[in-house]
Assembly symmetry: C2
Homo-oligomer: 558 residues x 2
């Protein structure tokens, strides 16, 4: 099998105008970025409002392991397969972050024969959306210190500035800084730090906004600091939102690209899946539903984080009703959940698979609580055995009454996911999708929302909220934010807060170390454990091997 990059380079891409045309998007509604990428104009998106909506399919996964699950490849492969069987389908994905490309992550545009292209552009600057978000965030950060410098009329408490800075680079040295040093002309010294751009609340706002007006209103609600009386100071107070919206105006138009098989893909926005909700933009998802009969989209991490937030935050805020949910699992990953070391995954081990199955089982049960029909996609890997696949299917059928379908999209493209496509479409075509049953009602107190998620979905015995965090939750409720959903920030590797507890742990206690208000995005973040918002680079960063080859092609990026 050739490498991802070799496959991508060998592909003959269609002009993006041709891809758009099949969705009924005329040329003059496109803003081209080269020949194979285009933004869809705001006006065209607005004009779709009265059209009927297609069916929404969510792709999520078991708890991730180092063995790999292939959620993005499954999303792409399923989209291709649905198009192959005659269903007009749009794929909606997150945009990759630039910084991690230079560490060890590699690209985030699928793989094998299930890729979105042009992959180099998508993985690097793409259409500049993340740069626009970095700019808008940086402007807001500069305006805060500028306000303090010029008299601090709002009385911002220097010690209580919550809005950190961002940069789209893995740079541990910037996690904690002191700034405004060097004398009077440089302002009032204070502690600060940088997060990576995807962790910016501006990113979360960008991905949840319905349109430009909603974007500006949400930006205005972002709480950046407190004054000496502990009253919240917002970006609206700082008059920052008009200019930020101007910086984000073009970026907010969704990006259209294609898969290797020519399926349309909207790649737009990419918030963190821990301190934010981890889904592509609402604007792209809604546009996709107007443009296609089906939208296949994915959520970050495993279903405990990704699918839960997809339902409880994105669907709740945007009024979306998924028609089916695909949970991606692999034999390899389930064996790891069953206790097998990574080095031993090449050996058949049905027993371990059965132990690890508990992880998948809980995710299936969890997703069913939201009211959507579920199918399991078993993403085929080279060393998997027939016996393992047969065992997994039997377990799914017998213990969960859920269909499990082996998929080979990585090796075969959409053809390898046709069985999955048939299963998904028959689930989705059963009738109009029911509105999701959220894990908790808006009116539930914030602490109870966290407890409900932990007990119902994580199998926890209870939560333990640190007293400082409890006080903050009470303050948020006092300030009128009690109706917001919660956004759980915990390890993606376990249902518990201990990343080494694989499978389906029960009876653990979820410690809530801190909480944060994301009033612009519209959720309260519950921080359970250490959450890294600015990654570092490894000892030998991928950057060292990235270069242009003699033909001017990019080498070493993937």
């Amino acid at each position: 099998m050739p490498t991802d990059i070799e496959i991508a380079r060998a592909a003959t891409l269609q002009p993006i105008t041709a891809v758009a045309e099949r969705l009924g998007i005329p040329d003059d509604a496109l803003h081209p970025y080269g020949r194979h990428i285009a933004k869809i104009d705001h006006a065209h998106i607005r004009g779709l409002e009265s059209k009927p909506e297609g069916k929404l399919i969510l792709v999520t996964a078991i708890s991730p392991t180092p063995a790999g699950e292939g959620k993005t490849t499954t999303t792409v492969g399923l989209g291709d397969a649905l198009n192959r069987i005659g269903r007009k389908t749009v794929i909606c994905l997150r945009e990759p972050s630039l910084g991690p490309c230079f560490g060890m992550k590699g690209g985030a545009a699928g793989g094998g024969k299930a890729q979105v292209v042009p992959m180099e552009a998508i993985n690097l600057h793409f259409t500049g959306d993340f740069h626009a978000i970095t700019s808008a965030h940086s402007l807001a950060a500069a305006l805060i210190d500028n306000h303090i410098y010029w008299g601090n009329k709002l009385g911002i408490d220097l010690r209580r500035v919550a809005f950190r800075r961002v940069l789209d680079m893995n740079d541990r040295a910037l996690r904690n800084i002191t700034q405004s040093l060097g004398g009077v002309a440089n302002g009032y010294p204070r502690e600060d730090g940088f997060d990576i751009t995807v962790a910016s609340e501006v990113m979360a706002v960008f991905c949840l906004a319905r349109d430009l007006a909603d974007l500006e209103a949400r930006l205005g609600r972002i709480v950046v600091a407190e004054d000496r009386d502990r009253k919240a100071v917002t970006l609206a107070d700082l008059k920052a939102t008009g200019a930020m919206t101007v910086l984000l105006k073009d970026a907010l138009q969704p990006n259209l690209v294609q898969t290797l098989e020519g399926s349309p893909a909207l790649i737009h926005g990419g918030p963190f899946a821990n301190i934010a909700h981890g889904c592509n933009s609402v604007i792209a998802t809604r546009a996709g539903l107007k443009l296609g009969d089906y939208v296949v989209t994915e959520a970050g991490f495993g279903a405990d984080l990704g699918a839960e937030k997809f339902f409880d935050i994105k669907c709740r805020q945007a009024g979306l009703s998924p028609s089916a949910v695909v949970i991606v699992a692999t034999v390899r990953a389930l064996k790891m959940h069953g206790g097998v070391a990574k080095s031993d995954l090449g050996t058949e081990n049905v027993e371990a698979l059965e132990r690890g199955f508990a992880n998948l089982a809980r995710h299936v049960e969890n997703v069913r609580r939201f009211g959507a029909p579920v199918v399991v996609a078993v993403n085929h890997f080279h060393a998997d055995t027939e016996a393992e696949h047969a065992a997994l299917k039997a377990l799914c059928r017998d213990r969960l009454d859920v269909e499990a379908i082996t998929c080979r999209h990585w090796a075969e493209g959409g053809a390898g996911a046709e069985a999955l496509a048939h299963a998904v479409s028959s689930l989705a075509d059963g009738g109009a999708a029911a509105a999701p049953r959220f894990a908790y009602p808006d009116a539930m107190p914030l602490e109870d929302k966290i407890r409900t998620i932990a007990k119902t979905l994580y199998g926890a015995a209870d939560i333990q909220v640190e007293s400082k965090a409890a006080a903050k939750l009470a303050a948020f409720e006092q300030d009128g934010h009690g109706n917001l959903p919660v956004c759980m920030a915990k390890t993606q590797y376990s249902f518990s807060t201990d990343p080494t507890l694989m499978g389906a742990p029960s009876g653990h206690v979820v410690a809530v170390r801190d909480v944060r208000l994301s009033a612009g995005a519209g959720f309260v973040v519950a921080i359970c454990g250490e959450i890294m918002t600015m990654p570092g680079l490894p000892k030998v960063p991928a950057a060292e091997g990235i270069r242009l080859d003699a033909e001017g092609r990019i080498e070493g990026l993937f």
Copy 2:
């Protein structure tokens, strides 16, 4: 007269493909960014190598004053006028910086009827070139601290890291920081700071590189730190250059836009004019010379800084020979140089004009030393009187034997600069341009180069090099950098280092406070006075008034 933005909005733009076609650029050599902006592909630029070159016209100016000179509008107006009189002309300009738009600067795309369009896009993210430079710089900065973190094999001296960080925002709080705080996982604490992106040496390298290979080689020569033995550590040592070049690959392709009258304009790169050389990219200028019969380009600040560096750095490195130089002056600005307060500029004052003429006279004499023929463009302002214009023309003729031509391009577009266009083309068409006579030979010692510029061009009695700076110059020469040109960083408002000394001061001493090696860009910076590399925002930043109006158009940016 309508405002700049009203004029720009009322314009009917041609498809950029049509503008390109008139230059013989086929569609498939263009990377479109929307309908009115395109990058010209590297391969097409390479293919132009064998073509004959047009004539190069430099537009520079007297020492700037708060009265305004209109160098960019003159560059645009002259380009339009040359096209009007049948000369195929390409305009080459710098890209505006994003950060200052939110302070008080306004846009940088010309004004009145002499503008490049689409102006909002050009002034904001444009094609993302500056974001790419910020990314490449940020990657290098991250790799430095990452190298130190993972064992510091190169033995970088933490106290001697010269490579600061950058962001394209006016943010005084980031001028001086301490970083890597918070414990072992965040690295080794050290002092650092941010400059604005245009001050990055990566920007200067970008603007002086001939092609991608030269870009990568120059990046590799950037000295970022010293080790404990005071040996230079470069970006090549850190293996940073391949990935940086990948990040800059698309950006290095020049951007094609148009003027209000449809003249082609290449807007590409934008280094600081103090600590760097202040000209658009060599790649754009050279491409323009292959594509047009004339290229009209500008240099930063007044001729003492801008034109001198244009000749001694850009022309020297790129082998360019200007055929004519236009020095822009205004009656208003010369009256200020003659001692008139800004509030009194509306009153006719031929006497003050004659006093201030000394500033123009020295710039004309200086530029002539480089061997290029000179013409003076008197940019007409509303309150100017006939008597003033007549007096200025007589002074130019009688004292300098130089033609001075009144231009009305701001109010009239290219038609208002036709007389200038005729004068310029008759100067330029006199024969093949002679190679410039540089202010100093490569082999001259660095300190003597600085002294030569100060005495010959600034009218200084001498220079005074601080002992630390002198030692650094000696070290640079020891390390083999003695042949580099020098890049003067001093106030743009005076021939001296005192910004309040207007007109044409003589006999002053130029104090050289510090020197810096820009080995990648290929010059040694001589810092004379305080040079700000990270601006701040004013008390009421322009950002507060920038917003989208009800029709989604940008308000308050200009």
